[in-house]
């Protein structure tokens, strides 16, 4: 269970302006559930993830995480260590116990096979994103935060990776919170979609996706999408 109760989060920029990034926002993701966060660009989504990850403690509110296992994140930018190879980057994120694990299957699926010894600076952006995904997946986290993980990928690949994410998610009980701008993606994957207002971010609506994942084919997804936009007009 991830329980977020932010009363306010603001930044003071270098020129002294105070920016309210997150307003009064309550959000909870039950253990083992998949929630998507959707909101306009610059509304505060990344800020919310950072607060959950404990990377910024200057805010008014409380965040409770009851998952005790590993936490993994896919940042909005790959954040690979440029001076370590792809494989080293992934292995470094693993705890000592699983350091020797066989990762070739994962590399294969992600189209990274043969690039294990490349440095991040030698990858295309899409490849680097996949390496960042591999790092998060390899860890088998019990809480997974994703910040627009499937951008910069061609549609075929993105679909494959969404499949992989769904697989990872169902193989072990994983609590997932994913930020995306792609509503179709959200509808395909999520148990619940949380819609945010423009900055400062507040919850503007919650859309539970009740259709079982196995039955979400192209047509169903399109229908769900229409339903969602009807229920929450202005969501594009």
């Amino acid at each position: 269970m991830l329980d977020v109760a932010i009363r306010a989060k603001s930044f003071r920029s270098a020129d002294g302006t105070v920016i309210e990034a997150v307003g009064d926002l309550r959000l909870s993701v039950p253990t083992g559930r998949f929630t998507c966060l959707v909101g306009p660009s610059g509304c505060g989504k990344t800020t919310i993830l950072r607060l959950i990850l404990g990377l910024d403690r200057h805010f008014d509110g409380e965040i409770a995480i009851s998952e005790t296992g590993a936490v993994a994140a896919v940042f909005q930018e790959p954040r690979l260590l440029p001076w370590r190879t792809v494989e080293e980057n992934i292995r470094l994120a693993l705890p000592g116990a699983s350091a020797g694990e066989d990762l070739s299957g994962l590399f294969q699926t992600l189209g990274l096979a043969g690039l294990e010894t490349f440095y991040p600076g030698e990858l295309s952006l899409g490849l680097a994103r996949r390496a960042a995904l591999a790092r998060a997946f390899a860890l088998r986290p019990s809480l997974l935060l994703l910040d627009e993980p499937f951008v910069s990928l061609d549609e075929a690949l993105a679909a494959r990776l969404r499949g992989l994410l769904a697989e990872v998610w169902s193989a072990r009980p994983t609590t997932v919170l994913m930020v995306t701008h792609n509503l179709r993606e959200a509808v395909e994957l999520a148990d619940e979609i949380v819609l945010l207002t423009p900055r400062p971010a507040r919850v503007s609506g919650v859309y539970p996706v009740t259709v079982p994942r196995s039955r979400r084919d192209a047509a169903t997804v399109t229908a769900l999408l229409a339903d969602l936009t009807a229920a929450h007009p202005g969501t594009a």
Binding site: R50, L55, V71, F75, E88, Y119, L139
Partner: protein, 261 residues
């Protein structure tokens, strides 16, 4: 994965040729300038070489150079270790930096003479006092350089390490040190040089051997060839260290940079 010296044979040959060419050019300029000057104060390369040969044959050169290198080495290890640790700590903790900043400026600007004399007076004319005094002189320099490096660390990587729960050691080795590499390289190179210069003073002020001791003896007779002979012997050792240790290490450390080759 390649070994440290990840250079092709041709590249290696080319690199050696450049090195030799560089030295040859330097010796030539020196030779020409000394010819023009024609002064005892500026002996030509062959005179200096002759001195080195004689001094080496007598065993003096190896002895004094050895003593100096031992002092330089010990002080270097001490200064780099303590200086890096302090520098990183100050760079990361603003409060500590505010408080200890003035101390750093103070120690940075205490003349070598003062530290050395005080160390000799308090701890006696011992090797430990000499090496300690030299290290103390160099530490603040390492601190300022590594403090800048630590301040410039990219938080993106630190945050990643926090999320993925890197152990302190893993964080230091894989996240922090690679970012500090250029700062460490800079402070190593200018560090050895500074330490050697202070060792000269230490040897002048209270040792009975070493290159500094010899250089000052020869200075009394204004034997510039001898002074240059000792200087260049040390420089030769430093060039060897540069070629055989520093450069291969740096090549490895910079492998990841695009267009590093």
């Amino acid at each position: 994965m390649h070994g440290l010296g990840g250079l092709g044979l041709r590249a290696q040959a080319w690199s050696a040729a450049t090195f030799l060419g560089s030295l040859a050019a330097l010796v030539f300029i020196w030779w020409a300038a000394a010819g023009l000057a024609g002064s005892r104060a500026f002996p030509p390369p062959q005179d200096v070489l002759a001195f080195i040969v004689t001094e080496a044959a007598s065993g003096e050169l190896a002895f004094h150079l050895g003593m100096t290198l031992m002092r330089v080495g010990a002080a270097f290890v001490l200064a780099m270790t303590i200086g890096s640790a302090l520098g990183i700590a100050l760079g990361r903790h603003r409060g500590a930096d505010r408080f200890f900043g003035p101390w750093v400026i103070l120690f940075l600007n205490i003349p070598a003479l003062v530290t050395i004399v005080l160390a000799y007076i308090w701890f006696g004319l011992t090797e430990a006092a000499a090496i300690g005094a030299v290290a103390l002189n160099k530490i603040p320099n390492v601190v300022v350089t590594l403090r800048e490096g630590a301040r410039a660390l990219d938080p993106a990587y630190t945050e990643m390490a926090t999320v993925f729960r890197f152990s302190p050691f893993r964080r230091l080795r894989h996240v922090i040190l690679p970012q500090l590499q250029p700062y460490i390289a800079a402070s190593m190179r200018s560090g050895i040089a500074l330490i050697w210069k202070i060792v000269l003073v230490v040897e002048l002020l209270g040792r009975s051997n070493g290159v500094g001791f010899q250089i000052h003896l020869h200075f009394q007779y204004f034997e510039v060839a001898a002074i240059l002979g000792y200087t260049l012997s040390f420089v030769a050792v430093m060039l060897a260290v540069e070629l055989l240790l520093l450069q291969p290490y740096e090549r490895a450390a910079r492998r990841w940079r695009p267009g590093h080759a």
